[in-house]
Symmetry: none
Subunit: 207 residues, 4 copies
DNA sequence: CATGAATGAGAGTTCATTCAT
DNA sequence: GATGAATGAACTCTCATTCAT
């Protein structure tokens, strides 16, 4: 028995044993980022691990399930930061600026996660399906609706407003990842100015 | 007489060839839209056709190649409309408004194509690789740069401006596809107002 | 009609029209030599031709059939030379020496044919099946039997004698093909001396 | 106790692994012999087994790889016998005679292996590539060269001498396989007499 | 629980052959 | 008879998943 333990201790990088789950998620993040969701196989994931193929199925039912877990985990990491930003913000402008900056910062410093997110086929679907992610976006949405109610933002369709923020954020994030000469702060200022300026010019909503 | 027959023969052949190619592309568009690029197999595509499996390979070397052809074809359909819009436009505002409207209209009335485009893993990459698509985006970019030079648009980073347009356009397009109660015209007005209003508020570019 | 002819005249190397059969055989010899029988496909053969794929089947039913034709043709080229050698020969020794020399000469100067013959899976079988080839070996055998009857060669099993000649001939031929420093004449002298010397030492046959 | 179980478990696994590998090799030998290398497919091989198709690839990367393993295994079976023969032999004559007899015996009693070897396209190449086989022929060659040095055999080109032995051996082996009325011992005597007699008659080598 | 070989469905692809032109 | 695209059986190989150890 003790022999067994020793063997494992040697074999694995002492990975806080029992956290195989984490090892799998980490491997998945890395591999997804490298190959894209469609191209990576479960084999690729476990190969990037010290575990045996069968072990995968003790933790996840399928590739899709790890992917979901990965998304959740990712959202779990950004959300607190976004929430902190929201609390710190004194004005709607500060809130938007802070959110963009936080997101861009995250993207710039957590390359592989973002790469996974972007290069992904079921991105869309997963963004909606995964509870953590839904929650993250919902919080933003709630704030937007509050801003509309309080008159800070003109009475526009919240869906479209959300879409604009998300679209601008993700697309600019792509450039941040691709180019080295763009500064996170500049990008955040750009996005904030564009969005806030744009919002003021919005037509009233048809009711 | 024999010449005539030959001519006809060749005519008929060319005809079936063209129609088979189109049949494959059409089937591909449909299937990609339904299953997403990663999940669809070459078999799925030919199954949606009355051709034999081997025939696929007379026209395309791989799944990726049909996908590219599909993208090209799609770009080929929108670009003339966008170009017409550009010519008709008297002001930058009209140009932007027209472009958004054209794009949204296309998306709303050509559902499956857009679905294919969005749900796609290698979207990003393909969008860059495919010559037709590159050209389409380049044209928009050129106009943007002209607008900057002529002072109509503040001197901002054209990459980021492009990213904003593209991001807003695609993300709103998603909602158009998902919801039935959004009007193409309203969406175009929203996007135009947001973008043009935002652009005016943009900070000067660091040089 | 004349147009058609012109086109062909241009397209093909004026190949004494109607001798498409020969074109196919020639292509087959070349391709078999390059890829080996098993690995070459009918496609490979017609690709090495100016003809269309379907045309192949106007001349041969299958790959196997061309191969057989190729073997026949080959045998047809060596046999007259071997026969001439036999007629010229004054003694059994001269006959054997001449046969070896002729064969080695043929091998050395008709590389690709021999390569085809050697690298071939069904070599064995075909050597037996193909009438021309059978005939070629039978002639040699008849001479051997005559030599036995006339007492020039000890009374040994003709099959084994044949096998010895054939084995030595083919195996040495391989070295001729593989090495550049072996002279056809030396090889023939070697084989002749070995065989004739050996024959004299042979045990009487059990009857 | 648990240790014991583990040991047994590992034992059983290793056992099935080894037996599966052998099952595949055996099936391959049989099928290659029946259809020839070129014509047999990996499917044919596993079909001759009670394993699943995918299992093949747990043991061999390709058809070529099994073939090589098969050749190795074959050589591994004859070589010890040839080596024993060499050790027992008191004279060069005894050595040659023993080698022929051993080889013919092997051929006669291990039909399918020899059939595989003969009917094979890449015979040549494989004979050279496979380490075991190379080694087997090298040993014979070394002995030949020693015999030349010691003056037992005239100073002839060792390549050609080898070719003669090999050619005679293989070609006569064919007859042993094809005919039932040839005795292994007679064949060995024939080949030995032919070769030894022939060797004495050989011309001096050009230097 | 971990392991890793076995499984077999199914993916992509090739190719001998047919047949309308 | 020549053409060359269409055909579809069959092949190689991968991979998610299971299950004995």
């Amino acid at each position: 028995m003790s022999l067994d333990l020793d063997a494992k201790a040697r074999g694995k990088r002492e990975e806080t044993k029992a956290s195989n789950r984490q090892a799998i998620i980490d491997a998945a993040r890395q591999v997804f980022a490298e190959l894209g969701y469609g191209a990576t196989t479960v084999r690729d994931i476990i190969r990037a691990t010290d575990l045996a193929s069968g072990t995968f199925y003790n933790y996840f039912k399928s590739k899709e399930e790890v992917f979901q877990a990965l998304q959740d985990e990712t959202a779990l990491r950004v959300r607190p930061r976004l929430r902190a930003e929201r609390i710190r913000a004194r004005t709607f402008e500060e809130f938007i600026a802070g959110s963009f900056r936080t997101f861009f910062d995250f993207v710039k410093n957590d390359h592989s996660t973002f790469a996974t997110m972007r290069r992904n086929p079921e991105m869309q679907r997963v963004r909606i399906d995964t509870p953590e992610v839904v929650a993250g976006f919902d919080e933003l949405r709630v704030d937007l609706e509050r801003a509309i109610e309080s008159g800070v933002v003109p009475d526009a369709d919240p869906d479209l407003l959300m879409a604009s923020i998300v679209g601008v954020a993700f697309e600019i994030a792509n450039h941040l990842v691709a180019r080295d000469d763009i500064d996170v702060d500049d990008a955040a200022k750009f996005a904030t100015a564009l969005f806030l300026g744009g919002v003021q010019a919005l037509p009233k909503r048809k009711r």
